[in-house]
């Protein structure tokens, strides 16, 4: 499929050249190597012990070809101690398994890291790493690996640990637990196969009719051929096209005229007319057109579905939840239980980086909980023993114990997502362009049919019926119905290649209508990764800086890591009496000095005025020196993007922060950009609503966490993400953060694709007019129909594909020029 980079071909073509040593990047994972942490093993450099271990595992098992297909394809294995303990629980495992028998078990595991041909290769060679695995097969598009193993020789938890140890950590969530045994729906493939079978054979058998050779034996066999064609048309009519009847019926029932009504009507009329034709020997009927129509329509549908399935977007909160949690029983022993079995009053053990599954009360002395998943606040919140902790938070740091207050189904997060706002609008607020056209199409079509009928009925009853049916047949909006799926599907593909993932094709149409853009500040127009750091306070000497950096090196807190990366001096002095107080700060003795780094409260200072900023304070030997303030770093290309957007859209920036950055923003952004600060999530939502009430079409760009409500409320919600595997369920599109500056290009391309659709509609109407001219004059021969219908379909599909690619390239070139100029 063309929407994947052909990694394999690239690397095959280059030959096995990736053996060239790269001193800058890790041989396994490709990350930059911090000079002190560099590990050299077997003439290759690694960034950490984890990566080295994976390489070691592979080289001991003759699997180093892994590194030949793609350069640095790996991922650093994560600590998994105890994380998969629940896989020892037989009841949970049997729920996860796809198939289970005495000596055979099959499991499908979702592995987000699957991204290249090396991944496919290593995962399909798992049996060389672990006895008991017989087959493992990768489904690249679904990012899944299906493993067949012998449960007597190897347990599931062992397999999962193995995968984890080689950097392919599977993602097991509550979703797997509930739907592990789902059936794959292959009905469309069958329908398409049947349609093609009928279409091909009918075409072949129709040839004698097309040429109308007046030959004795051909005339003799005409009835035979016709009835044979009729038989072949039956499966196409009754089975392959059945989806259209259902859809048409539904749309009539709900009072909305969609494009499937004229399609279904056309097919049915075509079938009946053809049956009458061959029954009374009027002619060969239109079975060939019918079969080709059904086939091409299904082909279009298939293309659409294939494009979407790669983006597989539909996830709910279940996919974020763990399958099982660790419960502490009365006699202090730990046990893994399925999440639905958790009862009120249970004591749970939550480890580092685990999600808190239910509301509860903290038993352990202290905890730092990251609620970014629910509120968007990236900095962990500190809780003390006895505090209430809410579901959806992530535990950071050491193991904590908690007591459960509710069972899972009543819990906060479940409520959060069943909240009206987060329910993605059930009724579609947007009518697709095809549906809009078909609203007029169907009545006009019927009008023409009846006018033609009433004109002919006084002259010739027979012709009148012919005309009536011919109009409905020839005007069948096949080309019309295929225009949008092919154009939008193609654009979707183009966007997907540039790391802009849309929920569905409708989003493109919505893009084209947007007139107001609302940006969230934190995490959207600012990056989370690089913060602008500056120092305020008494100057620090070189030795002190080295000591501070040595101390920072020992801490894992994100702010410590950021500051460590920022400081040019990299200290490696041995430290003593190191102590880290979660959420407060770190302290240790470095050579002769006692250094404390952390929040202002940690240093024993109670000045509250400084709490407005994110800062780390430094104290050496009880002397306060100063603080490092973390300022927001704006995304690359922000100013240029806003400047170009300014001409076509109204721009507003919402922020949950205080107005501290106001001046900086005003300077950066073009004049007239509205800046609004101190907005809570509900206020953001309200703000969008007000804009919409004022008749605006609003696009919200956010990070998808603390503005989930606003994203859902807006006409189009885009979530900016550093990692496209993690996203908010409320948004319509995900944009990879590095592509942020291309936003205007995406909007332009959407506009152009709507133009392409309109042009193509014009073209297909032209075909319809020609066809109708034949039909109302009573001259529609089966041969004419058989030529016009596939011809229009093919030209339309070709036209929209070429045009949308043309615009994508043209706009892309413009972007490149702009980049060069700036």
């Amino acid at each position: 499929m063309s929407y994947f980079t052909p990694y394999s071909f690239k690397s095959f073509a280059l030959g096995k050249t990736s053996k060239v040593m790269d001193t800058q990047n890790c041989f396994h994972c490709g990350l930059d190597i911090v000079a002190e942490a560099e590990i050299i093993f077997d003439e290759k450099t690694f960034c950490c012990n984890g990566c080295k271990t994976v390489y070691e595992i592979f080289s001991l098992n003759d699997l180093t070809s892994y590194y030949d297909f793609e350069k640095s394809p790996g991922a650093t294995p994560q600590e998994s101690k105890n994380k998969y303990d629940f896989l020892e629980n037989v009841a949970i495992v049997s729920k996860l398994l796809e198939f289970e028998e005495d000596s055979t078990a099959i499991i499908s595991l979702n592995i987000p890291h699957i991204h290249c041909s090396s991944c496919i290769w290593i995962l399909e060679n798992l049996q060389r790493l672990q006895r008991g695995i017989s087959i493992s097969q990768v489904n690249f598009i679904d990012k899944k690996v299906r493993i067949t193993y012998n449960p007597k020789e190897v347990s599931l938890s062992k397999i999962v640990h193995l995968l984890n140890s080689i950097g392919y950590e599977p993602y097991i969530s509550l979703e797997n637990y509930e739907t592990s045994r789902q059936k794959v729906d292959r009905s469309l493939t069958y329908k398409l196969g049947v349609a093609f079978f009928c279409f091909g054979n009918i075409m072949l058998l129709s040839f004698p009719e097309y040429f109308e050779v007046k030959e004795f034996w051909l005339d003799n066999y005409k009835p035979f051929f016709r009835w044979l064609i009729f038989m072949l048309a039956l499966p196409s009519f009754f089975y392959s096209a059945s989806g259209y009847y259902v859809s048409a019926y539904k749309s009539i029932k709900s009072g909305m005229l969609n494009i499937d009504i004229p399609i279904a009507l056309g097919i049915i009329v075509m079938f009946i007319r053809s049956l009458v034709d061959i029954l009374f020997d009027y002619g060969p009927g239109f079975f060939d057109s019918l079969a080709s129509l059904v086939f091409f329509m299904l082909l279009g549908k298939m293309f659409q579905i294939k494009t979407y399935s790669f983006l597989s977007f539909e996830r709910d909160f279940k996919s974020y939840f763990p399958v099982a949690v660790t419960r502490i029983n009365a006699n202090d022993c730990e046990e893994s239980v399925a999440i639905y079995d958790v009862q009120k009053g249970d004591r749970l053990l939550i480890r580092n980086q685990e999600l808190i599954p239910v509301d509860g009360i903290l038993i352990s002395e202290k905890a730092a909980i990251d609620y970014s998943f629910v509120t968007g606040e990236a900095i962990p919140i500190n809780k003390n023993s006895g505090d209430k902790i809410f579901a959806g938070g992530k535990q950071i740091g050491k193991i904590i114990e908690m007591e459960v207050l509710f069972s899972v189904s009543q819990s906060y997060l479940t409520q959060l997502w069943s909240n009206d706002v987060f329910q993605k609008k059930v009724k579609q607020k947007h009518k697709s362009i095809t549906d809009q056209i078909s609203r007029y199409f169907t009545p006009i079509l019927l009008l023409i049919a009846f006018v033609g009928f009433s004109y002919w009925i006084f002259r010739d009853t027979n012709t009148a019926f012919n005309v009536f049916t011919a109009v409905l047949i020839v005007a069948c909006p096949c080309a019309l119905a295929l225009t949008a799926p092919f154009t939008l599907g193609n654009v979707l593909r183009i966007l997907g290649k540039q790391n802009m993932y849309l929920k569905n094709a409708l989003v493109i149409e919505q893009f084209a209508q947007v007139d107001t853009l609302v940006f969230d500040k934190t995490g959207t127009i600012t990056t989370n990764e690089k913060s602008n750091i500056f120092y305020e306070g008494k100057p620090l000497s070189e030795t002190n800086l080295i000591r501070i950096s040595s101390l920072l090196r020992a801490s894992n807190h994100p702010l410590s890591r950021m500051l460590y990366d920022f400081l040019p001096q990299k200290g490696k002095i041995k430290i003593q009496d190191f102590k880290e107080l979660t959420g407060q700060g770190i302290q240790a003795k470095v050579e002769d000095d006692f250094i404390k780094i952390g929040s202002i409260l940690f240093l024993g200072n109670t000045q509250k005025s400084m709490l407005l900023q994110t800062a780390i304070h430094i104290q050496i030997n009880n002397e306060y020196y100063g603080k490092y303030v973390f300022k927001n770093q704006y995304r690359e290309g922000l100013a240029e993007l806003f400047k170009s957007l300014k001409n076509n859209y109204q721009i507003k920036v919402l922020s949950g922060d205080n107005a501290g950055e106001k001046e900086a923003l005003e300077q950066l952004l073009p004049q007239g950009t509205e800046l609004i600060f101190n907005q809570k999530p509900e206020q953001k939502l309200e703000f969008i609503k007000q804009l919409q009430d004022a008749g605006k079409n609003v696009m919200m760009v956010g990070d998808g966490l603390n503005d989930a409500g606003a994203l859902a409320q807006s006409n189009v919600g885009i979530s900016i993400s550093e990692n496209v595997n993690i996203f908010s369920p409320a948004c319509d599109a995900i944009l990879e953060a590095s592509q942020f500056k291309k936003l205007h290009y995406f909007l332009r391309l959407s506009n152009k694709s709507m133009l392409v659709i309109k042009m193509s509609f014009g073209l297909s109407l032209l075909y319809n007019i020609v066809g109708l001219a034949f039909a109302v004059t009573g001259n529609l021969e089966p041969l004419v129909a058989a030529i016009i219908m596939p011809l229009s379909t093919i030209t339309i599909v070709g036209f929209v594909t070429i045009m949308s690619n043309y615009y994508a390239r043209k706009l892309g070139v413009r972007i490149k020029k702009l980049e060069v100029r700036s």
Partner: protein, 67 residues
């Protein structure tokens, strides 16, 4: 000319046979993933024979790092 009945029925029979083959292929899941096989087919038997000395070196390394 009645041979045409025979010929047509043979051709239909062949067509149906292919159709059944198609249904079986779909049922077995061959059409579920149309990307991975295209990569898989390009893999040779990629196993690298690590030279014995290299293996020795590796195990030596392991010993030293274990101790």
């Amino acid at each position: 000319m009645s041979v045409i009945y025979l010929l047509i029925s043979i051709s239909i029979f062949v067509a149906v046979a292919f159709f059944i083959a198609f249904v079986i292929a779909v049922k077995s899941g061959q059409y579920d993933d149309d990307y991975t096989p295209s990569v898989r087919v390009l893999f040779d038997d990629e196993l690298k024979k690590v030279k014995s000395e290299k293996l020795k070196k590796l195990s030596d390394y392991k010993k030293t790092s274990d101790s």
